[in-house]
Amino acid sequence: MARWLVKGEGVELVTESLLSGEVRQRRIELALTFLERSFRACPDGGSSAYHSRLRHPVSGWAPSYPETTGYIVPTLYRLPTEVGVVRTHEIADRAVDWLCAIQRPDGSFPGGVTGSPAYSEPSVFNTGQIIQGLVAAHHARGNEAALEAAKRAADWLSQVFSTETRSWLLYAYKDGFSPTYYTRVAWPMLQVSAVTGDDSIQETAISALDELALRVNSNHTFRDWGFTASTPAFTHTISYTLEGFLGAYRLLGDSHVRYRDLAQKTAYELLWRMELAGGIGGAYDENWRPAGWFQCLTGNCQLASVWLGLAIELDDLRYLNAAFKVLHPALKSQRSSWMAGSARGSIPGSRPRFGRYLTMRSPNWAAKFFVDALLDLEETLSSLGVKGRA
């Protein structure tokens, strides 16, 4: 966001700076009002998957989406109980109640959005994502029912894990395709075992991660890190893959530093490519050929968080530098005008909005990862002692 400002003796260009706590706070509040509306749009207690007047001309809102509602919950608990007019913890509590209510008898959670054909089937990935919200509810509110639900979900993930292939072959987003971003299924399982001390869940998670780690190519890409085997991976699923490895390392500690090393090499490769090209691509294939004409803004925000974590852990300002750069397209794309109506505060799937990822839609998870990235930025600036003008 840039504006011209008459200042002193001349006219100067003022660019919105992410160093400003005021800017970050305003942007977080905007995104939260969008998320709050996404919850209000769904009477069941979940968050609407996305806003799109093209797909849903009347209300603009898609049905509730258990998967992303699950991982929006930790973001809401991470914030103060009230941010502006948004009662974050109240919304999260209600979402957790809904998630517990829709858990299937076998412990799994459904795929897709409510009412879709996939909703009648269990989903490995969605179960993993929902576990994150349940564990967060236990940490933030001491919610024992949520922890019990998380344990049952993690047990189900263990049960459907193939010990022969060391992977999940069933209940996938695409039949028969076991993507590398399942690292983000193993990581929530570790979150459960960290609370319950259940060794068998931990063993399954580590086994899955070790197998997924073998998929790394010599150029630091990963085989099958996209939604399908044949298409380039959006930065969204690339980041999912990295988040899973990094999250696992942070729970398991230095005995599993290999997970961080794997993720760091890929994260640096992405940083290097973004810097040389002058911008991040929306998707990359396994030879790092970019789809450079659009950006996947959800992936931008996730990558920012990945880099910010590494900036602290490796004490390397280059990752902070890259995070600033990758966040600006999301900042510029956030719909901040009143003209946006109920989509105000949202982050579109792609930039430009007709880009390939969630074309002409504003997903709830883009807003979630945007808030996460701004909160992570706050922590990184504080940890590295980086300050701008008072």
Binding site: V11, T15, S17, G278, R318, G385, V386, G388
Partner: protein
Amino acid sequence: MGDLYLTAGYGNSKHASAVLQLLIQQGHTVHGVILYKMSAKRVIAYVKRLGRFRAASRYASRGLGLGRAGRQDPEVEPVLKFMEKCGLSSEGVSAVASTLGVPVLPVRSFSDEQLLAKMRSHPVDAVVYCGGGIVRGDLIGIPRIGILNAHAGPLPEFRGMNASEWSVIHGVEPVVTTMIIDEGIDTGDIVAVHAIEGIPARSVGELRGLATVASIKALVADIDRLLGGTVKPREQMGKGDQYFTMANELVEVLNTRLERGSTLMSQDKHV
């Protein structure tokens, strides 16, 4: 005295102009100024790297020589002062080359066949690099001594872009390192390390300007030393990191630190 060529990133470059004038004053023969022409690809690369507004502002300031609201660009100001002090013309490199009768050789790439053929047609001792694009193997092999570059940071620690800013933000004293360009990014053999006079700077712009002045002096001094055989380039020792264009936010952080005279990360961590 040597048979030299000089590169320049744009026709109005003061930095290249100062180096050209000083080399001629010292009695060297400059056979041509290799001017890296603006192309659509280069404009796109600038815009991507700097953003539309910073790229436009830089073009107005450097390319067209426009000041900002009556003030001088803080990056160029120390260079102009140095030129004035040395009695050099403050015109850009293209104008100065015309006045001095040095041919200007506009190219879209340093691998331009016509350029390479011309350079191969007579002995060339060295090329003095004062900006332009990435130098490829074809050109690297032509000059007897090599292509001399001044890098605004310590090597191998701070390779790549904005090295003076990155070194200062890490609490490392900024220096200018002259080196012989090879195929890598700032990986060539080191000729000498030069202090930057006038630091600590009060702003990033001033820091860049002071580093540019130190680069001009270093290039002119080290060409003489290389031609005279009084210095032998040495291989870089140790591990290096590549740095990239500094984000606006970190430039802001650095400006704040320079204004208050503090640069070290560790100091700020405990404030």
